[in-house]
Amino acid sequence: MMILVLTLGLIVFMLIGLPVAMTLALSALGALLAGDGMVFQFSVLSQKMQFGLQNFLLISIPLFILTAKLMNTAGITERIFRFANTLVGFLPGGLAQANIVASLIFAGMSGAAVVDASGLGQIELDAMTKNGYPKKLSVAVTAASSTIGPIFPPSIPMVVFSFVSGVSVGRLFLGGVVPGVLMAISLMTMVVFYAKKYNLPRRQFPTFAIAFRSFVESFLPLLTPLILLGGIWLGVFTPTEAAAVAACYALIIGVFVLRVLSLKDIVRVSIETARDTAKIGFLIAGASLYGWVLMRSGMTIKFAEWLTSISQSSFYILLIINAFLLVVGCFLDSTVAILILGPLLVPVIENLGIDPVHFGVIMVLNLMIGLLTPPFGIVLFVMKEVSGLKFEEVVKSTLPFLIPLFVVLILIVIFPGLVTALPNFLMGG
């Protein structure tokens, strides 16, 4: 009965438009009432909801959001784009290539695709359309490249996955490095074909003086990923401390070095960060309650038994889960999907002997592809707002760019070493 209420409640409440956090909390409450009747302690609701948030790792989420927003507001993203253009602007499809490389660099400071698409994306889009690139192509490249953000470290979805699975977030971050670079390379290869088709302009090979000036201009922001990853890898900082240091660094660059961040900017960024944090955090609180009731109902065990009864092959199970996640990604936000499905899927993959770091990266990449697929691809909606194109036009132009992302997904499913080699090499395994 509890399992029925948990499942039905989730579907019905979500479909009628209830906030997802409330959907999870109400379904859990319904299941508790169905299982225990009115004898359950009311105090358990607030206990489980706050207990889920008592994890120092989760504090990294607002700090990563704050870092990315400070970088965007301080105009650091513009410097990164100029640097990327100097670096690869001479390749076929120059500015489109720069768009992808800038997203990869910015991914080393931000952990969310939406922050990339809405901040850096606007700059990239303006530059490309001003230089005669077709708007639809510019939108497609910007949308597709923004999904590198949550794969290349740091990554908010990976922090959430670490929270639900107990896997080291440092290993997950390092596991995302190679797939993130592969995504950039595959998208850049795709752009070469478009460059020939549309005869896209490109800049001359930069002189040493131009390249050096551009490097100096963006040198300080470029240190952010090194501070973050280097600090975690060398064991100097925990991921949360690294996030705090990164936010502090962004603040120092913006206020004291570039002198562009005013008090008004900082207040606006703080309000936006607090709002985004509340949205994600309340979701985690609701999911904590839901996860606890899910365990009590025995659904996780039954689900694992059912899934392993389909096949004993870990590879086939992984393929089935991939297909399932791709469909889920079309409908659910990545944080929501990880919070709901993580507790169900992680025990299954652990039983099958699949490395949870490998699975974590696969799960996040699947859900990132979902950001680019209708009907709920959030990045598609952001690009519609930023570009002024119709939603259908954004969808149609972005669809071909799913191909290189699928290629990377297939590669990392078939070759786990692409994900696990780096964390195993640097952190032991």
Partner: protein, 159 residues
């Protein structure tokens, strides 16, 4: 009230930030690990989540999926909105009663690292958050049922 809550959240966000920075400075540079700053950061985080959630309940901007409801007529949407809010209120009432019980049980229970920081204070945050959310939801139901203006900010509750 919303502006007051947002102002409070800004202060708490930076308190959390400085607590996290202090943890790094003390442990890495001064070689004095400080567990109280970790606890302070965690309390600030919980405050940020629950008081922040209460603040954004005013315009109901929590993450939701509206693909089905967006396709419905305005009248049906209004009915759905009222049902949603009644469901949320029913949960929040039980949640708030539970939070009150936890405040009573834990009011004098201090944290091992910071004795003056009581467990009850944290549940008090949840209690206040629950009450504010119920308040905003009631206002929003009132605005949907009795006012032509649909947004609660037009009733002046966020000033």
């Amino acid at each position: 009230m919303k502006k007051f809550l947002e102002g409070l959240n800004i202060i708490v966000l930076w308190l959390m930030f400085f607590s996290a920075i202090l943890t790094v400075v003390c442990r890495v540079f001064l070689k004095i690990p400080t567990s109280w700053s970790v606890d302070l950061a965690q309390y600030s985080f919980i405050f940020l989540i629950f008081i922040g959630s209460a603040a954004i309940m005013e315009d109901e901007s929590h993450i939701k999926i509206t693909v089905l409801t967006d396709r419905l007529s305005e009248g049906v949407q209004k009915i759905f909105r009222i049902i949603e809010r009644l469901l949320m209120i029913s949960f929040l009432v039980i949640f708030t009663i539970g939070a009150y019980q936890n405040v009573k049980f834990n009011w004098t229970v201090g944290l091992p690292t910071v004795n003056w920081l009581k467990m009850g204070y944290m549940y008090l945050i949840l209690l206040i958050s629950g009450i504010i959310m119920i308040f905003y939801l009631c206002i929003n139901i009132y605005s949907d049922v009795f006012c032509k203006k649909t947004h609660p900010s037009e009733l002046g509750v966020n000033s």
